[in-house]
Symmetry: D3
Subunit: 190 residues, 6 copies
């Protein structure tokens, strides 16, 4: 049986005590975000796995890129909506609301991203991410050229693919383990 | 325009020269596998991304787990077949043939994993990975309990979810960038 | 070209002035809800259509029934989520938050109703509504018997079917005309 | 247990006796159509519901519109075919045969509306109705513009959306309750 | 350009004159059925192909089998309905009406075979044919055992598979070439 | 219970002894192919069925046509991949490898035919075969015109349709009976 505050349906309690580096990182999250995201608590049963996940996540979402942080979060929510991942829609929906200052944009990406008012460039970016999510085997050169026609470089295309790919991973891990988002996300930036 | 031997359709040449650590890792691949997998060459335009990918991959596929290496490769091929990812079916199909010593098993996982002769435990594992791939939002406690009934621990369930999730990421990145597998895989372990 | 505050993408301005009965009804909405729902404004180009829609809506959602008002709103959001109707998810998501006093329930029904914590009876009700939405031609006596086994009467089954059917209509009309919900819904009952 | 001649699988006998207004309406149906449509008998357990349904139906299918009555029936059959609703294909297939004087047109709309010989305008109308039925969340301004290019006014677009939406409701209510059409429809206008 | 009475959209006129054996067969059709089925006229551009098709068809539909001729026609219509093949629904729908003496049964198989009143044995037969049509790769031993449990022999299972397979072929050839059924079928056995 | 070397899951032993003509044909297979294809052994429980199948197969795959034998095998593998038929992917994948002298082409057609390097003409041919396989009811004149634009004659279009249709039949019969390919195919032409 899982602990009452387990972040998933699996009985995988965190390493106790956490290694100092991990504890420091969690404290930093608490300080900056006001919470330790449950996904990190879920991975904390195995610090090597936690570190690998965190390194990949931080590179994708925070490292320099031709895509803004908001654009990466927009991909996160659109992909998570197509996969109907509760955790990621909640957590990254909040991020879109915060980064955009537009609460409705977060809702639109969750509910039906096609009806949001984007630039043509952003729409092309989300069309590509959606095709990758729904039928990646049908992606062809014409799809990459459509991105290039909106000014995306090949490096940008990689980043779109990498972010959209990443959420197709985490959406599935979250749903497969019934991972639950921190309650605090719900009311943020409404 | 991409270089003639570019591993993807994107014009993202590797860092040149590679950092010594990376070069050493590639040399090790060459020595152990007889090739540097094209996926590593594809990521080599950005060493931070390459390292993050490699760390995650090695933890998932090689670290200790209740799943054997062959079982993890079986998940890889079944998921990649559902997503029709050419790169991953070729590379991991070869791995299944090699690890199992059963060339037909590799083909069956590529062509229609349901008709392969598995243990009931392995079948349950692949059923779960397939549901995660095709409709992760429909995974419920009953699905996890079906795994537990076959003797999988909660830690094993995490590993199944993590491996199946991972290939749902890489399948999409590979297809989105038209990543091509090394030719050498095709004839191996036939 | 549509007026700036047109509730849909169609150029169908309301009858002007509204008939006294209609104006009175809109005033009542304003008083009770703090807004005139855009769907009513959308229909106001033809008072016979508005009245027919309103009569059906009020009977379904407000008349006595074995289903509580909250349960009817839960069906509304689950169906609208499956159809990805922006208008109805926003408006009825707000209603679920208000009637339940549980902001997370509204989000869960929008994002993936299967992961919400319902009674078994409510889950059966939503399973039926979902099957009607996704594959109504596959509904058979066994599906109705599943509802009866949870204590629903034949009259209750009719009401579930009628409410789920209704939102399959309005979801489509709203999406087909790009109907937009009143901004006020977004922040309510968070 | 339902009565032998119950129009649905639900045990919901009609109000007995029917109110004079309802009886008069049923008598008029008998006189004009040679039968009381089973859908009206099905709703007769609750006269408020029957009246709301009838008012909406008559407005949509019989009130003045830029769409002819035959065109509205064509939408009815095409939508009902996509939803595989037995009741509505039978009843409205008969209406198409009668109104068009073309028995084959009724069959074609039931079997595969794409192969019928329509005017380009009618084909565009049915393409829109089909998209609304199968993937309403993907309808965008380009779809409405395609209708406008064939001479449909914004009011006509509303009417197409309203009729297609309506049958997406009734198809589901009919299938959910196993509503059966009057036998008399089968042989009509062959 | 195809001839005005071409049975398909392809310009493939019949061998002229037909070989005596073929002419004799067509005369026999005319005499027994009152028409030469358009599918035979469509194949008559190449007598070897016509003969191969006819031999297979006659063996499947007319040779001794544990399935009655009506049961084989029921499979034909259910499969053709799932594939929405106009030619085969018209021609074999007429055959079901004639062989069963039940005009409604033909309609039900065209519109939604699940709502027809079958014996449990016939329902199992059609469930198997439908699964073969929609997702043949998911057929497993349990599906064959379900047929055996209803008294079907392994030879009967072969015949169900062969008939359902055959119509999955002809449905596609007919749709791919826009093959049109003889007008005479429409009014028969109503 | 089926015999240990039964080519399917059905207990349908071959006629014993085989008629001289059949035995001669099987001997010829053994001599030319090094094996008697299991599909022929599967049909040998009824010589009339075997002969009808063989006649159709040989006409489609071996008779003169505007499509080369390799092109017909390419259609066979692409269709069989879409239907995930193990038998046909194995047997016809080997044929593509042999006829093309390109082992990778066989793999590509099995794994995701869209990423293989075809001529535009071959790609159009496979696009048509795939549409026939996945949604034959949506094939329209524009699809046939796309083939004509690549130089296919109406007779060629018939042949594409007939080959694609045929494998939609055999794929389903093979999967429905769990037909297994001869082991020898796996290692051929790698």
């Amino acid at each position: 049986m899982t602990a009452p505050d387990s972040p998933t349906a699996l009985d995988l309690p965190p390493v106790d005590p956490l290694p100092p580096e991990t504890q420091k990182y969690f404290d930093l999250c608490e300080e900056k975000l006001g919470l330790v995201p449950n996904v990190l608590r879920a991975y904390a049963f195995d610090i090597a796995k936690l570190d690998a996940f965190t390194a990949l996540y931080n590179d994708l979402m925070l490292a320099p890129s031709g895509l803004s942080k908001l654009e990466r979060e927009m991909i996160a929510v659109a992909v998570s909506s197509l996969n109907r991942c509760y955790y990621c829609q909640v957590a990254h929906g909040a991020a879109v609301r915060e980064l955009s200052g537009n609460p409705m944009l977060g809702e639109q990406l969750v509910m039906n991203w096609r009806i949001a008012e984007f630039t043509a460039r952003q729409r092309a970016m989300l069309d590509f991410a959606a095709k990758m999510t729904e039928a990646s085997h049908r992606v062809e050169e014409a799809d990459r050229d459509a991105l290039r026609a909106h000014g995306f470089s090949d490096r940008d295309i990689w980043d779109i693919a990498a972010v959209a790919g990443f959420f197709n991973m985490t959406n599935r891990i979250a749903s497969a383990t019934d991972m639950r988002p921190n309650d605090e996300y719900h009311a943020r930036a409404r």
